[in-house]
C-alpha cells in the first residue's frame, strides 16, 4: 500500500490531497510517495535529476520564453531547494523532447551540456558544455566537446563522473553522415574531460549506431559501461554495450538479441545503472509492432547478462530509466499507456524477481511530456517529469522504499 507523505505549504498539502485520490488507488507495496515542491518555473521541461556521492540531489531543467531557452538547476538541501542557478541560455539552441540537456555532478564539480544549432545546416547542431570547478567556484566558458568542426548532428549525450574530477562524456556523432557519398553512419564516441573542460582522451566506440536514441552510461566496480542502440547493415537495432577495461574499450556486444529490424528511428534509447558489480539495463523494443520493455541484470560488472525480464508490454511507449537502491534492488521507470498514460516505477531484486510496481503520476503519451528521469539516493528514488496538463512545468517526487 502506498502511503502519501505531505510536505511543504498548505497549498502543496491541498495538491497532495487531490493527488492522493488517484495515488492511493494504486497500491503496490510499502513504499511512500512524496510529491516535492518544484523549483522549476512555468514553461519548464526536459528535466533531469542526479545525485552526487555526498548525497546531494540536483535537478536541472530547460525553461522557454518565446525562442529563448535557458538551462538551470537547483540543489536540494535539508531546507528545501536552493535558489535556481542559470547555466546557459540561447536563442539558437536545439531544444528537443528526446535529446535534451544534462547535468553531471560529483564532489569536485559539475558538467552541464546542451545542444546548439550549427552556423550552417538546418538539422545540424553541436554539443556545448560548461564545467564547474568546486575549487574555483566558477563555470568555464561554454565549449564544443567534439573537435571535428563538421556541421552535422551531435547529441544524445551521457555524462559520468570518472576519476580525479574528470568526466566521461559519450555522444552520438554524425560527422561521418556528411561530406561523403554514399553518406556514412552515425557513430558513438566518448571522451574524458578534466575539470577545465580539456579533452584528455577520445575514442570512436561504434561505427554504425541508431541515429535517434539516447545513450546511457554507468560506473561499475570494474569501470564504466556505455549502452546504446546499434544499427546493423540489415537495420537490426538491438541494444549493445561496451566497457572500458584496463584502458581499452571492449568490442561492443549485444546485451540481448531482439532482432528488431526497422529502417527508422525508435527514439527510445536504453538505460543502464550500476552499483559495485551489479548492472541493470532496461530498454524498449517493438519487434512485430509489439511494444515491450525488457530488463537484463549482471552480477559481474557487465561481463555477462541474465536472460531478459519483461517489465511491461503492449501498453507502453517505453521512455525507460533505471537506478539501483542501496539495498541492491533495481528500479525501472517506464510509461504505461493503457488508458491515460502513467509514469510507473517497477522494482526488482537482483535475481530479477518483481517486487512491485508503483504509479508515480498521470502523464501523457505526448512527446511534450518528455522522458521521466529517476535517481536513487539510499533506498529512495527521486523522479522528475514534465506535467503538460496546463502550462508545462517540471515536477519532482520522492519514493521511499
Amino acid at each position: 500500500m502506498i502511503r502519501l507523505i505531505e510536505s511543504g505549504t498548505a497549498a502543496l498539502r491541498g495538491l497532495l490531497l487531490a493527488l492522493s485520490i488517484s495515488i492511493t488507488s494504486y497500491a503496490a507495496g510499502q513504499e511512500q510517495l512524496t510529491l516535492l515542491p518544484s523549483p522549476a518555473p512555468d514553461n519548464s521541461s526536459l528535466s533531469r535529476v542526479v545525485a552526487n556521492e555526498s548525497g546531494e540531489i540536483y535537478l536541472s531543467w530547460v525553461s522557454q520564453d518565446a525562442d529563448q531557452a535557458t538551462l538551470a538547476f537547483a540543489r536540494l538541501t535539508s531546507e528545501g531547494w536552493d535558489a535556481a542557478q542559470v547555466i546557459g541560455e540561447g536563442r539558437n539552441w536545439f531544444v528537443n523532447w528526446a535529446d535534451f540537456p544534462g547535468l553531471s555532478v560529483d564532489s569536485s564539480g559539475m558538467v552541464a551540456h546542451w545542444l546548439q544549432m550549427s552556423a550552417t545546416g538546418t538539422y545540424d547542431y553541436d554539443i556545448r558544455a560548461r564545467f564547474y570547478s568546486q575549487d574555483k567556484a566558477a563555470w568555464t566558458e561554454a565549449r564544443t566537446i567534439h573537435t571535428d568542426g563538421i556541421s552535422a548532428e551531435h547529441g544524445f549525450v551521457s555524462m559520468l563522473p570518472f576519476s580525479d574530477g574528470t568526466t566521461l562524456i559519450s555522444w552520438l556523432d554524425g560527422r561521418e553522415t556528411v561530406h561523403s557519398e554514399p553518406p556514412g553512419a552515425m557513430t558513438l564516441r566518448a571522451a574524458i574531460f578534466d575539470k577545465s573542460g580539456a579533452n584528455i582522451s577520445e575514442w570512436k566506440l561504434a561505427h554504425r549506431v541508431c541515429d535517434c536514441c539516447q545513450t546511457s552510461s554507468a560506473m561499475t566496480e570494474k569501470g564504466p559501461i556505455i549502452v546504446y542502440r546499434d544499427r546493423s547493415q540489415q537495420e537490426v537495432r538491438d541494444i549493445y554495450a561496451t566497457r572500458l577495461v584496463d584502458g581499452a574499450w571492449t568490442l561492443p556486444q549485444a546485451i540481448y538479441n531482439d532482432n528488431w529490424q526497422i529502417a527508422g528511428c525508435p527514439v527510445n534509447g536504453p538505460s543502464v545503472a550500476a552499483m559495485n558489480k551489479s548492472v541493470a539495463v532496461a530498454w524498449f523494443s517493438a519487434k512485430d509492432d509489439i511494444p515491450k520493455i525488457q530488463l537484463v541484470l549482471s552480477t559481474n560488472s557487465g561481463l555477462s547478462f541474465s536472460k531478459s525480464i519483461v517489465v511491461g508490454s503492449l501498453n507502453t511507449n517505453g521512455r525507460v530509466d533505471t537506478t539501483i537502491l542501496e539495498s541492491g534492488d533495481i528500479i525501472v521507470s517506464w510509461m504505461d499507456t493503457a488508458g491515460e498514460a502513467k509514469i510507473m516505477l517497477s522494482r526488482f531484486d537482483i535475481t530479477g524477481g518483481l517486487l512491485g510496481t508503483t504509479k508515480v503520476a498521470v502523464s501523457s503519451a505526448s512527446r511534450r511530456s518528455g522522458f521521466p528521469i529517476i535517481e536513487a539516493l539510499g533506498n529512495s528514488v527521486y523522479v522528475t517529469w514534465t506535467d503538460i496538463d496546463a502550462t508545462p512545468q517540471v515536477k519532482v517526487a520522492r519514493i521511499d522504499y
Binding site: 536545439f94 528537443n96 523532447w97 535529446d99 538546418t122 538539422y123 548532428e153 553522415t177 541515429d211 535517434c212 537495420e235 526497422i262 529502417a263 527508422g264 528511428c265 525508435p266 527514439v267 527510445n268 524498449f284 517493438a286 509492432d289 511494444p291 511507449n317 517505453g318 503519451a365 505526448s366 512527446r367 511534450r368
Partner: protein, 154 residues
C-alpha cells in the same frame, strides 16, 4: 490513363504481378470507390534522417493522387506549435498538407513507436496498413494497390 471503373482487386493484383514493378499507375476517383477520403498519414520529424529521405516520395504522391480520393497528409511527430510546424515543413521541402494537432487528435491514431511511420486510413479512419520505417515508393504503391485504390496500367 485514368479509367473510371469499379475496383477489380484481383485483376489489379494480377496486373501488378504480370507487369512487375511498373510505376505506371492511376488513382481511382472518389466516385469510383466511395464518397469518403482515404488518407496516407506520414509521421515525420525534422531530426529524423529517414523521414527526410521519404519526403520527395510523398510530395510526388500528393500530386499524383490529387484528383483521387486518397489524400497525403503529414504529422509533425514533435507536436510543435502549428506556426513552427509549418516553418519546419517548409525547411524540409514538404509540399503536402500538414495536419494541426487538433486534426491529428481527430484521427485518434496510436502514436507510432518508430519514425518514420506511415498509416493508410480508410474513410472511416480505420488503419488498414501501417508502414514502419523508411518506405520506398513501391511499398506505398503496393499498400494502395492492396486496398484497390490504384491500378496498374500499361
Amino acid at each position: 490513363m485514368l479509367k473510371p471503373r469499379k475496383p477489380l482487386y484481383a485483376l489489379r493484383l494480377l496486373g501488378l504481378f504480370i507487369f512487375g514493378m511498373t510505376t505506371f499507375w492511376n488513382p481511382l476517383t472518389a466516385a469510383e470507390y466511395n464518397d469518403g477520403n482515404w488518407r496516407i498519414v506520414n509521421y515525420w520529424s525534422k531530426w529524423c534522417t529517414p523521414c527526410r529521405v521519404e519526403i520527395p516520395i510523398f510530395n510526388d504522391l500528393s500530386v499524383r493522387l490529387a484528383k483521387s480520393n486518397v489524400q497525403v497528409v503529414g504529422v509533425n511527430f514533435d507536436e510543435d506549435p502549428m506556426e513552427l510546424t509549418l516553418e519546419i515543413a517548409r525547411d524540409m521541402g514538404i509540399e503536402f498538407t500538414v495536419l494541426s494537432q487538433e486534426e491529428v487528435d481527430l484521427l485518434a491514431l496510436k502514436l507510432p513507436d518508430v519514425l518514420p511511420t506511415t498509416y493508410l486510413l480508410s474513410p472511416s479512419n480505420k488503419v488498414v496498413a501501417k508502414l514502419i520505417g523508411q518506405q520506398s515508393e513501391q511499398n506505398i504503391l503496393d499498400a494502395l494497390t492492396h486496398q484497390g485504390l490504384i491500378r496498374v496500367s500499361d
